[in-house]
Subunit: 222 residues, 2 copies
């Protein structure tokens, strides 16, 4: 990898933060074993081996026998970059802890269920590009007013207004800061629009937010 990752020590992703997706899943959540929708943000990590950069190739995943997997999917999210140590802050003060904004791509295997933590599908090498740069927080007056678009081979496949998130950027920072202390440079991907977008080997993928930039990546071959 030629460029250096923009992530410092931790990349947290928020799942199920799309009001429409939550509504669609309501029936499932009301069945066993939970019998109710999640009451806290549902989080997962993209660990260091996943971190990647704008312009980089995303490795096409292989299965346990070394064969190329049949399908991969992608989602894109606003990335909130913490500017200072953040522990138990209120939603009202949370945005003061933001240092900047960027884009996070999340390439993975298709999800099989919403239950068991899917480390195998989510933590593939090189599958979390972040970039193209960190835009200082003072350039973005209201992060919840942004729109994330995702294009594959030049064609728009997904468009998500952050106003449709179940929890706002400030609410998420606050909630997560009660779960763990966050450090400067750590990044929260605040939410991906409901359905992930299928991609194929060699596809060019662009994630874009006006004022934050465009993150471009290519899927590798097998």
């Amino acid at each position: 990898m030629t460029k250096k990752t923009l992530v410092n020590s931790k990349l947290i992703c928020v799942a199920l933060n799309d009001k429409k997706q939550l509504a669609a899943l309501e029936g499932t959540f009301n069945e066993a074993p939970y019998k109710k929708p999640p009451t806290q943000p549902v989080l997962y990590y993209k660990p260091r081996n996943t971190w990647n950069t704008d312009g980089a190739t995303i490795e096409w995943a292989k299965d346990f026998s070394g064969q190329a997997v049949e399908s991969m999917v992608v989602g894109a999210s606003l990335g909130v970059v913490l500017g200072k140590e953040t522990c138990r802050v209120s939603p009202e003060e949370a945005l003061q802890y933001v240092g900047g904004y960027t884009l996070v791509g999340d390439f993975s295997l298709p999800e099989e269920s919403y239950y068991r933590p899917d480390i195998k599908g989510k933590c593939l090498d090189t599958t979390a590009p972040v970039g193209p740069e960190i835009v200082p927080a003072d350039k973005i007056s209201n992060p919840d007013a942004l729109t994330v678009t995702l294009s594959v081979k030049g064609e728009e496949k997904s468009r998500f207004d952050l106003s449709q998130m179940e929890r706002s950027v400030a609410e998420l920072i606050s909630k997560i800061s009660y779960i763990m202390t966050l450090q400067p440079g750590e990044i929260i991907a605040v939410g991906f629009a409901g359905d992930r977008v299928p991609v194929a080997q060699g596809d060019q993928v662009e994630a874009s937010i006006e004022g934050v930039g465009t993150l471009k990546n290519t899927l590798g071959g097998a």
Copy 2:
């Protein structure tokens, strides 16, 4: 924290790697939503904010309203420290990638279910002490022959022979190396004995493996 963490970039824990615990849970696993036991290692992370050292105090957790939680639990595991980059290695060659061994403590909130990824309960600040040192791999001829003991206030509460693990150290390294590339200094906690041990504020906890050392920690007050 006065001492420096022994972890480099990643601490992976393996859940449900105790044959006896798996057998006890068989009924649960055969119900919805899975209808079968896990077929791959069940993994979770202890992220950077959790990393702690031998001799250090573990913070007593607070709930969202700032009140001390009622109960915390602890488990102890052998920690396998990778010695070199490890990607898609076979079980036969896996132990050649080990740089050393240490102990990992995992303090957490009691588990409520085996389904939803429990980031809130597992990723509390300071809850993953590692140490007291990294013993070079060549000092341990067979890691699967070790026994992990856990004492609270000087009384032994748990004893686990690693020969009772569902997957051996070599099998785990191999399996995980097919999921993600591991780097030198990253640590795998290979498995905790079935039931976690309850602890109270002020308790002294000792995790011990003959030839690897004793990891001592104290629970803080509220």
